[in-house]
């Protein structure tokens, strides 16, 4: 019996010993590996702006939209299949290769998840409260904006009445690459985006040292965009108003020296540095379809620009017998794809028009137009008609948001309404291709590898 008691003691000791095991086994195997574990490390991860704010998932949207035309030679010279196939909305877009948009989006979602899960694991005493909040908020914002971008390409446009049955995206919430997720509904996807944005809103500061970092207004701007898509115009307007509480100042294009604009001296500062309209800076890759070397401005589009619209002179530069686009807020060949104040005014204008406060909406449009027009030629719009106001709005969106990656989602969105629906047309090698409203090709297919290895339902 005595021995049994001794044995019990040993076992108890053993169990105590076991509880220390977790600490014992938590040591890094190779000490020279830099494993992120401090606030500074996570901050540094999110400071990788050229990576996280670059290469946004907008390529397929730009490729498929009606903002440019290619001649046959330029079309044939495009380096990868999706660029050619996307242009004519072919059903086999990737030809077995990757989708750059899908990959880039989910790569960044992985980084956001890594930061979020590790920040949540940190002990309280390690938290530098304001830094922790800012980084935690920024990671949520990053995840939200990536899901927003991906949803525009790989999901149908949001239809409130059937959204719970529309296919959404796989909502990955951990960086663990071995976890599997299936596609959510579109409603869940948008709800996920909104949830992330609300967390971001409560943690982000009002101001940041650079527009490469998200702030509260970036969140409001994206919330306004999201609710606009979801046809919740009151909420969208409310968030637009939130932005406009802090930021109201548009760039007056009259102040830009038109003479100095050339290919080597683009009108807007590089990386949006100091551009006060930018609420959150991000950019696409230098997409070949709209690159300097390939680009030909569509004369139909140029004709939309009225006399006195400074955007004609600021956005478009004569270059080697071509008219190329130089008006990107990135100040370079990459397209600006972030959130800028002009769009917020357009969102509020649309909400107001749709909520039958047409004059308020038109006022917003006029406020924006005033900053874009030569003062000598500026004539304010005037109408009381819903349809006319909407048409102006749609046209103004097309001009103001030219080559910002949002045309594709606008086309999809307006296709829901018969009076605004549009059929796109391309002519390549003498053959005519069309993309009528409600064609399933408005939704880009998921990449083949994702279907094969992730087992997702294809669009």
């Amino acid at each position: 019996m005595k021995n049994c008691i001794k044995l019990m003691c040993f076992i108890t000791l053993g169990i105590c010993f076991c509880s220390c095991v977790d600490d014992f086994l938590n040591v890094k195997q190779d000490a020279s590996i830099v494993t992120p574990n401090t606030i500074e490390d996570y901050n540094a991860i999110l400071n990788n702006f050229s990576y996280l704010n670059g290469q946004t998932s907008h390529e397929l949207g730009v490729i498929g939209s009606d903002e440019y035309i290619l001649d046959d030679n330029a079309w044939r010279a495009l380096p990868t299949p999706y660029m050619r196939n996307g242009y004519i909305w072919s059903s086999n877009v990737y030809e077995g290769l990757v989708s750059v948009d899908w990959n880039n989006g989910f790569e960044r979602i992985k980084v956001a998840n890594l930061v979020i899960e590790n920040l949540e694991k940190m002990d309280n005493q390690d938290k530098n409260e304001s830094e922790w909040n800012r980084i935690y908020g920024a990671a949520h914002f990053l995840r939200a904006i990536k899901y927003y971008e991906l949803a525009q390409l790989f999901c149908e446009t949001f239809k409130p009445e059937i959204a719970s049955n529309q296919l959404g995206l796989p909502l990955r919430t951990e960086s663990n690459v071995t976890s599997q997720y299936s596609r959510s509904s579109l409603l869940e996807t948008y709800q996920f985006i909104i949830d992330d944005l609300l967390i971001a809103e409560s943690h982000l500061p009002v101001n940041a040292i650079t527009n490469l970092r998200p702030i509260k207004s970036s969140v409001y701007g994206l919330l306004a965009k999201t609710y606009l898509l979801m046809e919740e115009y009151e909420v969208a307007e409310a968030y637009a108003n939130e932005v406009l509480k802090y930021h109201t100042e548009l760039i007056d294009y009259n102040g830009i020296d038109l003479e100095s604009i050339s290919v080597n001296s683009l009108p807007f500062p590089e990386m949006g540095d100091g551009n006060k309209e930018i609420l959150y800076f991000s950019s696409t890759t230098s997409l070949r379809n709209v690159h300097f070397s390939t680009f030909k401005a569509d004369t139909n589009f140029l004709n939309l620009l009225e006399i006195g619209d400074l955007r004609r002179a600021i956005y478009f530069i004569d270059f080697n017998d071509n008219i190329i686009f130089g008006g990107s807020y990135t100040g370079g060949v990459n397209l600006f794809s972030g959130i800028a104040l002009g769009e917020v005014y357009l969102i509020r204008a649309e909400c107001r028009i749709r909520l039958e406060r047409i004059q308020d909406g038109v006022d917003d449009l006029n406020f924006l137009r005033k900053h874009r027009f030569d003062h000598r030629h500026y004539i304010p719009l005037q109408t009381g008609s819903y349809l006319e106001a909407m048409e102006w709005l749609i046209r103004e969106r097309r001009l103001e948001l030219y080559l910002r990656g949002s045309r594709w989602e606008d086309l999809k969105r307006f296709n829901k309404e018969k009076q605004f629906a549009q059929t796109l047309e391309r002519i390549v090698e003498g053959k005519k291709y069309t993309l009528p409203p409600n064609d399933p090709k408005w939704v880009w297919p998921l990449p083949d590898k994702a279907i094969e290895l992730g087992g997702y339902e294809q669009n």
């Binding site: 044995l7 890094k28 190779d30 494993t35 540094a44 990955r172 690459v177 990449p447 290895l453 997702y456």
Partner: protein
């Protein structure tokens, strides 16, 4: 550390004297020794039982047949029964207490069977009660093979163990029962005296080894848990025993290996031929002549003639001299020699009533076949056990070993001219025996021009250089372990174990100031005005210093007993904690080093680019500053139980949980639970069983799992910090890997079916085993759904590996022993035969657009449905009648468009030529003995695998790829009927994929099957020469040559790419014990 060692030694020495004193006091009392010897061989028999008249076991003899007895006068006369399996039982009557040792001679029973006690490292068990698969090798097989490393001594001796050689040299990997991993370590776990051993095997003195047990299946190995997936090699060293007169044993042995024979290498053409190619290339302007870039000697000669610097006559004379020259002969004469290694070992073992000890000291030195390469080592082992009370014992063991390797010799490959390889006409000495400069790095004319300058002499004399560079690689290891045992109740034992092993290794090279290395460096840094950046002095290079400290602690409780005589049980449980820390500090170079004053210089401007000679710019190489630290930690608990009923039915089972810091973040993934169980049934002990000639028939079944570790992957996310960029200039970090929180052990499930049998009183006995291993969760490169954020065309980013692959291995091990005895001649033969095959059952092979990837000789990509060891080949269609180049078939038509053929080839078009690791292997060994003289031989064979024979690479003669098949090449139409060696293409004609269309064709895949006479030996042993001292003399020869090989080219399949085949090794040894 040294002081610590010194104190330790002192303590141990005190113990010896103390124990001897205690012993002699005992002797005057009632205690005396008994030694039981074999009547014929006069060798001590271990494990003999001394039973009293009522059958109770009183004593069991230990090694060399010793035991002790304590008798009181009142007990006399005392009668014993002395018996051992395989010997006739004898009655012994003691009338008087003997003064010295009492010798008992036992005569062998016909067809003796030796009793074997197996060790799993955690506990020992008699073979009868084992359910798992074990291979037992006793010390004799290990001790008498000097000069070889420990594992190589097991080849052909241990069932199921195979050495897989790389075909190039003597290095090998070990496989026990095939392979069950794809990307991780294949080698078995080594356990030394109950502790996991990760040091160099050279630190173990072979003379200290008691026995080696291989644990092959799950029931045997699973007690070593998650690292036992590749099998376990358990090594036990000798220990002292209580009540035992000190025995001093001394051992001297030597081995000599023949000098290498370079004629074995067929990837070679003689000077005349090579000069022919060089002349042709020279005439076609292939050699770019610059002021300083080195050119081969013959080219220089051709240039001299062209430029009119030498007469045609002189040219012809010099050309003839070169044509006659043979660098292989030069190398054999000046660079190589027979390798000799000597081993001297002594040991002392004994014990009193209070303590026992085993001390040994060994010194090894060897001179390798390369002149200048040598090594020496000293090994000290001190082990002590104290019986503190009848219930408590304590053992303390220490060891120290130090190895000095001098690898500074000059090899044939060191005679390569920069950019041009080895020239077959290179000469080291001229006709008069004077050393010739070897033009290696710079053009001879450039060196001549500099002769008059202030630069240092810039010539390299290889034979002299060999003596001016001293390179030493030192490695030392110090080991200490202690074991505390407390015996409680009747059957319980409580053990506490601790071990610390500290080892360090460093390579130090000293370059004399007159060495070419120093002169060359000084000259390269000498500025235009002849100022020197690097001083002309010695250079001391202290290589990276690696220090490893491993610590292990274990608590274990054992219960061993019987209930009602029939039901025996053995249960134990414990916990084990282990840490291995490896710190590496960077190498340091000291310039202007003087070995006399031990001073040097390190203050240099490491950031300036200096103009360099002969051209360009150069920096003093920056000292490394990066230290490294690796920490491996393991924690486990384990339990094991075995129950046997009437020795007929045995049921065993084990459970082990292993955790490690190498694995996943999620707590449940840090560790893994591994279980095994097994049953055995001795059918021959059943009453219904009555076959007279069948003495033993035992069936065994086990099933369980063990694991394997891969330390090259991490579960941690990793980032790298970078300084910032415009516009913010904020420092940022890249995420290199998000890590894999699900990373876990590879798991190997093994099913083992075994049958042990014995016929005709042990005339034939053996075992037959079948096993099936399923390896799951193997680590491999994987495809990822791009949605995970990992993408590289669907294939994982390099280095991102996860546990997902599976493979299956199955095989058979057969072991047959035949022994017989006619009069004084005893004969025993052992036949080992194994089959093992593997198949990858799950693996995501990347989509490979080009099939050449599968022909990569170094690493063939794993592929589902085929063996890991697969060899692919292109189909062969013969040579063209027109140009003698290989024919290929594109869409059914013969063609010679190799590029189109190979680039359009699909995986399914490749031929599976076989596997490169033998699926069948085995050995036959026979030992004959008559009185004191023994003779043995060992024949080994491997079958069923293939190798790729080397041959000419058409057109690449001009790229210095030579092969003697060149003489068999196609030269004129019609030759294609006689030869398969393609024509040589002329200089300048490079046909893509032409060489591989031949070299990678099925034609060159040869069967690697062979039978080899591995060893022949003689042995003489006598213990009656000087009193009862024992003398043993042995002599043996290894690698006697191939008896049969499937290939017709005289190629040793294990060395098919080597520059020379293994040479005969002659061993000689003498062993004395007093």
């Amino acid at each position: 550390m040294k002081i610590y060692l010194y104190v330790l030694t002192l303590v141990f020495m005190l113990q010896v004297s103390a124990s001897i004193r205690v012993y002699s006091q005992d002797k005057q009392g009632r205690s005396f020794h008994v030694q039981v010897l074999d009547e014929d061989t006069r060798e001590g028999i271990q494990g003999v039982t001394l039973r009293s008249e009522n059958g109770q076991i009183v004593r069991v003899t230990i090694e060399n047949g010793y035991t002790d007895l304590v008798l009181g006068k009142e007990q006399l006369p005392f009668i014993f029964l002395v018996g051992h399996l395989g010997y006739r039982e004898q009655e012994l009557k003691i009338d008087l207490i003997p003064d010295t040792t009492l010798i008992v001679l036992l005569s062998k029973a016909d067809n003796a069977i030796e009793e074997v006690v197996l060790s799993t490292g955690m506990y020992s068990l008699p073979k009868e009660r084992a359910t798992g698969s074990f291979t037992y090798i006793d010390q004799k097989e290990i001790a008498e093979r000097p000069g070889m490393d420990l594992i190589a001594r097991l080849e052909g001796v241990a069932n199921g163990l195979q050495l897989v050689r790389n075909g190039i040299d003597d290095s090998y990997s070990v496989r026990i029962r095939g392979v069950s991993t794809i990307e991780s370590n294949e080698s078995p776990l080594i356990v030394l005296d109950g502790f996991v051993y990760e040091g160099e095997l050279a630190h173990i003195n072979p003379n200290d080894i008691q026995d080696i047990t291989l644990l092959k299946d799950a029931a045997a190995a699973s007690i070593w848990g998650a690292r036992a997936g590749n099998g376990v090699i358990v090594i036990r060293t000798k220990k002292g025993h209580l009540h035992r007169q000190p025995i001093l044993s001394a051992n001297i042995s030597s081995s000599i290996v023949d000098q290498p024979d370079f004629t074995y290498n067929r990837s070679w053409l003689p000077s005349r031929e090579v000069m022919g190619f060089q002349k042709e290339m020279f005439e076609k302007g292939a050699y770019r002549e610059t002021v300083h870039t080195v050119l081969p000697e013959y080219i220089e000669l051709l240039i001299q003639r062209r430029d009119g610097l030498i007469s045609d006559e002189e040219f012809s004379k010099k050309e003839a001299l070169l044509q006659k020259a043979d660098v292989l002969g030069e190398a054999s004469k000046h660079l190589y020699r027979p390798a000799v290694s000597n081993q001297y070992a002594a040991s002392l073992r004994g014990g009193s009533g209070f303590n026992s000890y085993y001390y040994s000291l060994a010194y090894h030195d060897s001179k390798e076949e390369v002149i200048g390469n040598s090594s020496s080592s000293i090994l000290l082992n001190l082990s002590n056990e104290f019986a503190l009370s009848p219930y408590i014992s304590l053992s303390l063991n220490g060891g120290y070993s130090r190895q000095n390797v001098r690898p500074g010799g000059l090899k044939l490959t060191d005679l390569a001219v920069r950019g041009y390889g080895i020239q077959p006409y290179t000469r080291l000495l001229d006709e008069n025996g004077n050393q010739l400069p070897f033009i290696r790095d710079l053009r001879v004319s450039y060196l001549q021009d500099n002769e008059q300058s202030e630069l240092l002499d810039w010539y390299l004399y290889p034979l002299e250089e060999r003596n001016l560079i001293q390179n030493r690689q030192m490695e030392s290891q110090i080991k200490f372990d202690g074991k505390f045992e407390w015996r409680f109740l009747k059957s319980g034992r409580f053990n506490l174990l601790y071990q610390i092993v500290e080892s360090s290794g460093q390579s130090i090279t000293e370059y004399d100031k007159d060495s070419y290395f120093v002169r060359d460096m000084v000259n390269r840094f000498t500025q235009a005005d002849y100022t020197r950046i690097i001083p002309h002095g010695g250079i001391l290079e202290s290589g990276t210093l690696s220090k490893t400290v491993s610590q292990t602690g274990r608590v274990q409780v054992n219960f061993d007993g019987a209930i009602a005589q029939k039901l025996r049980y053995h249960l134990y449980a414990g916990t084990d904690i282990r840490e291995r820390k490896n710190a590496v500090s960077p190498s340091i170079r000291t310039y202007n080093y003087s070995p006399e004053t031990l001073t040097g210089q390190r203050a240099f401007d490491y950031n300036t680019w200096y103009p360099a000679r002969p051209s360009g710019s150069i920096m003093v190489s920056n000292p490394h500053a990066n230290h490294q630290l690796f920490i491996d930690r393991y924690f486990s608990w384990f339990g094991n139980g075995a129950v046997s009923y009437e020795d007929k039915y045995v049921l065993s089972s084990s459970l082990r949980w292993d955790g490690s810091n190498l694995f996943g973040v999620k707590a449940n993934q840090k560790g893994t639970l591994l279980a095994s169980s097994g049953v055995s049934w001795d059918i021959s002990k059943e009453n219904f069983f009555s076959l007279d000639y069948l003495n033993l028939l035992k069936a065994r079944v086990t099933y369980g799992s063990s694991g394997n570790v891969n330390t090259s992957v991490s579960h941690f996310p990793t980032i790298s910090h970078t300084s910032g960029r415009a516009p913010t200039f904020l420092p940022y970090a890249n995420v290199n890997s998000v890590g894999n929180p699900n990373l876990k052990w590879e798991k190997v499930k093994t099913l083992n079916l075994g049958l042990d049998f014995s016929f005709h009183n042990g005339f034939i006995r053996g075992s037959f085993e079948y096993y099936l291993k399923y390896a799951n969760d193997l680590i491999g490169e994987a495809y990822f759904d791009p949605t995970t954020g990992i993408n590289n065309d669907g294939l994982s980013v390099q280095g991102f590996k996860i546990n997902y692959a599976n493979m299956m291995t199955r095989g058979v091990d057969l072991n047959l022993d035949i022994s017989s005895r006619i009069g004084r001649v005893s004969w025993s033969s052992k036949l080992l035969f194994s089959y093992t095959g593997n198949e990858i059952t799950k693996y995501n092979t990347p989509e490979i657009s080009n099939v050449t990837y599968y022909l990569n000789q170094r690493s063939v990509p794993p592929k589902e449905g085929v063996s890991k060891d697969i060899v692919y080949a292109y189909p062969w269609y013969g040579l063209s009648n027109e140009n003698g180049l290989p024919l290929v078939k594109i869409d059914g038509d013969y063609s010679q468009d190799y590029t189109k053929w190979i680039t359009t080839m699909e995986y399914d078009d490749l031929l599976v030529a076989g596997v490169n690791v033998a699926p069948y292997f085995g050995s036959v060994s026979t030992a004959l003995s008559w009185r004191n003289v023994g003779f043995h031989f060992l024949i080994g064979g491997k079958f069923g695998h293939v190798f790729r024979r080397q041959s000419i690479s058409s057109g690449n003669e001009y790229a210095r790829l030579y092969h003697t098949d060149y003489y068999q090449r196609w030269q004129k139409p019609g030759d294609e009927l006689l030869t398969n060696v393609p024509a040589a293409t002329p200089y300048g004609v490079n046909i893509m994929y032409l060489p591989s269309a031949y070299l990678d064709a099925e034609l060159l895949v040869e069967s690697a099957s062979y039978i080899q006479l591995q060893e022949v030996g003689l042995r003489y042993s006598n213990n009656r020469i000087f009193g009862h001292n024992t003398i043993t003399v042995f002599a043996s020869v290894r690698n006697l040559g191939i008896l049969w090989a499937a290939n017709e080219y005289n190629i040793h399949p294990e060395y098919h790419q080597a520059t020379y085949a293994p040479k005969k090794r002659f061993n000689l040894g003498l062993n004395l014990s007093f």
